[in-house]
């Protein structure tokens, strides 16, 4: 398959791995921010090809995982309101809130539908004029433009029964928060591929300049990731942290200007609560005043009830890269995909799920 096979070439991957081993002398602690990268790394067994000097940590880049319990409780409370249809991407269905999940709420008779795009949610709104259709707006800068587009379209078409519960989160402030926390000393970051396709590379400049952390934007195939690791190791060996792109077929320095314009036109930046990290200033989006009639939190009176956190779950530490999934006492024992304790085991892009599903069998 064109544009995929080249980036899965076994010979090329091995050559890159040899090159990394040959040039790596200093300890290199690298974090892949993005859950998509975590899955690709585990699924292809990339860590097995790296020399002992290169250590890979998984970051908080799974939108489902970083959504806090109170936010999930809000969505569940919305789902229980009469005449409300909840539309959501499939991976939210199983995530436990304080006391329930959308999957369970659906079994209890609430109208919860999986959609593949915000356009599907708009269509459901058009087809059900007597009901309120709420889209669960979870995601990073990759999903934000599609939600912005849907809101603009609903505005143009004067669709009166479409709402968004805006739980969108922004990547660069979270990276900065991790670096500021200083719990994990990072030498390099594998910057997210799809997020960077939207926001470009300028937001990362400060990490290289102020924190001395090497930054390389990577694609999602094995060769992409190994190439990014090689570039990071070169920077670390040279003691010169900069921002580079390994994913040149997808990412430009300036990002996607059109998408950014749409996002800036529809959303205002606000603080957001991240599971495991806490409240980070300027790390979330809310709908601008102009579009506030589409804001589900304003249109409905929501009573999510008291919040309960899950005991013994290390999702927070895992999201910050302080612990690996195997270091959690519950991992693969109490906490398994069919009975997940925390969201990192639920979401397809969650670190625990990726380690469990695709882990090196020696580590289980």
């Amino acid at each position: 398959m064109k544009f995929i096979d080249e980036f899965r070439d076994a010979g090329l991957a091995r050559k890159l791995a040899h090159r990394i081993a040959a040039i790596s002398t200093k300890q290199a602690r690298l974090m892949e921010f993005c859950g998509g990268h975590t899955v690709a790394i585990m699924k292809n067994g990339i860590r097995q090809l790296l020399p002992p000097t290169v250590q890979m940590l998984s970051g908080p880049g799974c939108p489902v995982c970083v959504t806090s319990n109170p936010d999930i409780d809000k969505v569940l409370a919305l789902a229980r309101l009469p005449n409300v249809i909840i539309t959501t991407f499939g991976d939210m269905l199983k995530v436990p809130g304080s006391y329930s999940s959308l999957q369970r709420a659906r079994a209890e008779g609430n109208d919860i539908r999986i959609v593949y795009s915000t356009q599907d949610a708009l269509q459901i709104a058009r087809e059900n004029p007597g009901k309120s259709v709420v889209f669960v707006g979870i995601g990073f800068e990759t999903t934000a433009p599609t939600i912005a587009a849907a809101v603009m379209q609903a505005d143009t078409e004067k669709i009166k029964n479409f709402y968004v519960i805006c739980l969108l989160k922004l990547t660069p402030p979270a990276m900065k928060a991790l670096l500021d926390l200083g719990e994990v000393k990072l030498d390099g970051i594998i910057c997210p591929g799809h997020v960077s396709a939207i926001i470009g590379t300028h937001p990362y400049q400060a990490y290289a300049r102020d924190y001395g952390v090497a930054c390389v934007v990577a694609g999602f195939e094995p060769v992409d990731i190994l190439q990014a690791v090689e570039m990071l190791v070169r920077q670390i060996e040279a003691g010169n942290a900069t921002v580079e792109i390994a994913y040149t077929r997808g990412v430009r320095d300036e990002g996607n200007v059109r998408a950014l314009e749409m996002m800036h036109g529809v959303f205002d930046v606000q603080s957001a609560t991240w599971r495991g990290i806490g409240t980070i200033p300027s790390s979330g989006y809310r709908l601008k005043q102009k579009y506030s009639r589409f804001d589900a939190e304003k249109a409905f009176i929501i009573d999510p009830g008291p919040v309960k956190e899950h005991q013994g779950c290390c999702c927070g530490e895992i999201l910050r890269g302080v612990k690996t999934p195997q270091e959690c006492k519950l991992f693969a024992k109490v906490c398994v995909p069919e009975n997940p304790v925390g969201p990192c085991m639920v979401s397809a892009e969650g670190s625990c799920s990726a380690y469990y599903q695709y882990g090196d069998f020696h580590e289980r």
Partner: protein
């Protein structure tokens, strides 16, 4: 006759009899069914296999098949995977009020064609009609009986260290075909369901070798579930190579796009065989001659290490666990 199924069609009235005598029975009739008694009565001797399965696929027509073909193939294949020769099946329909009779006719025709292809007979059946909204157009249950040749012992717990794993063809075609039809997803390389009766393929294989230890059709849960079941039941390790697993371009593209792993996607016309190493070539050759297994390949083997687990060598030369699927992957595909 009305052009839609009414509740009255299930009431035991004249309308019910008309439905049976004019629509449902004629296409699939045979001497045992035509008696229309409460039970089919027949004689069979020897070792038998008996199985049942229900079909609730949505939509009822999908590229490469329909719920009728699926209901026959599913039961025929379950019998075949225990080494049985399928003989008779039952056919029970739960119809939602309002189903178009033309659609029902197409389904029954498809049942007939698939039964003929597989060489099995429907010898008993049942029809119920439920209120609109209480079923989704049509649900089908089939049960089947088959006879097993003496001396044959095929089971998921029979895999032995050194055995070869043979897969009959590309994976994930049924799941992707149903999903793309249901969700209105259109891919540039269209995918057809692989839904097919595999009893003749199994017969070809058993003629080639008696050293076939396990057979299973990787339906829900896909190849990953079937191999994990073998590893657990037989308490052995299984190692497969990603590179050797046949995959249709359309399935691959759809999986890339939707973030799905083809190892976990349902098949309805594929089988996995665990075969003694000295007979693997003969079995593979016999399979490749059958129209449903032209792309058959040896994809791995049974090992003494990592008991109870399936490990896959990835294309770039690393290895990873292939675990049982968990939870809902795709809703209602069979």
């Amino acid at each position: 006759m009305n052009d839609r199924i009414l509740l009255a069609h299930g009431s035991g009235s004249k309308l019910s009899h008309d439905l049976l005598e004019k629509i449902l029975v004629p296409p699939i009739s045979n001497p045992l069914l035509a008696r229309m008694d409460d039970a089919a009565v027949f004689e069979l001797a020897g070792k038998l296999a008996f199985t049942t399965d229900s079909y609730v696929v949505n939509p009822i027509f999908f590229p490469g098949g329909d719920i009728g073909r699926l209901a026959v193939c599913g039961t025929v294949n379950d019998l075949s995977m225990s080494g049985a020769e399928p003989l008779y099946i039952s056919l029970a329909l739960i119809i939602e009020e309002g189903l178009e009779i033309a659609e029902l006719l197409r389904i029954i025709q498809s049942v007939k064609d698939t039964c003929e292809e597989a060489g099995v007979q429907v010898i008993t059946g049942d029809t119920k009609v439920v209120n609109r909204g209480k079923a989704d157009k049509l649900f089908i249950n089939t049960a089947g009986i088959g006879s097993i040749h003496r001396g044959l012992d095929i089971s998921g717990s029979n895999a032995r260290v050194g055995d070869k794993i043979i897969l009959s063809g590309g994976i994930g075609e049924h799941g992707i075909a149903v999903m793309s039809q249901r969700e209105g997803l259109q891919f540039s390389v269209p995918v057809q369901s692989d839904c097919a009766p595999l009893n003749k393929l199994v017969a070809d294989m058993l003629r080639a070798s008696k050293k076939i230890n396990c057979l299973r059709d990787p339906t829900r849960g896909g190849l990953a579930a079937t191999l994990s079941e073998f590893a657990r039941q037989s308490d052995v390790g299984i190692i497969i190579e990603e590179e050797k697993i046949p995959l249709h371009d359309g399935v691959r593209g759809a999986c890339e796009l939707l973030g799905l792993d083809p190892l976990y996607i349902a098949n309805e016309g594929k089988l996995v065989a665990v075969v003694s190493p000295d007979d693997a070539d003969r079995v593979l050759k016999a399979m490749k001659r059958n129209k449903y297994a032209g792309a058959a390949a040896v994809i791995g083997e049974v090992t003494a290490g990592h008991r109870g687990r399936v490990v896959m060598k990835t294309k770039i030369g690393a290895s990873r666990i292939v675990d049982m699927p968990t939870g809902e992957i795709l809703p209602r595909i069979c």
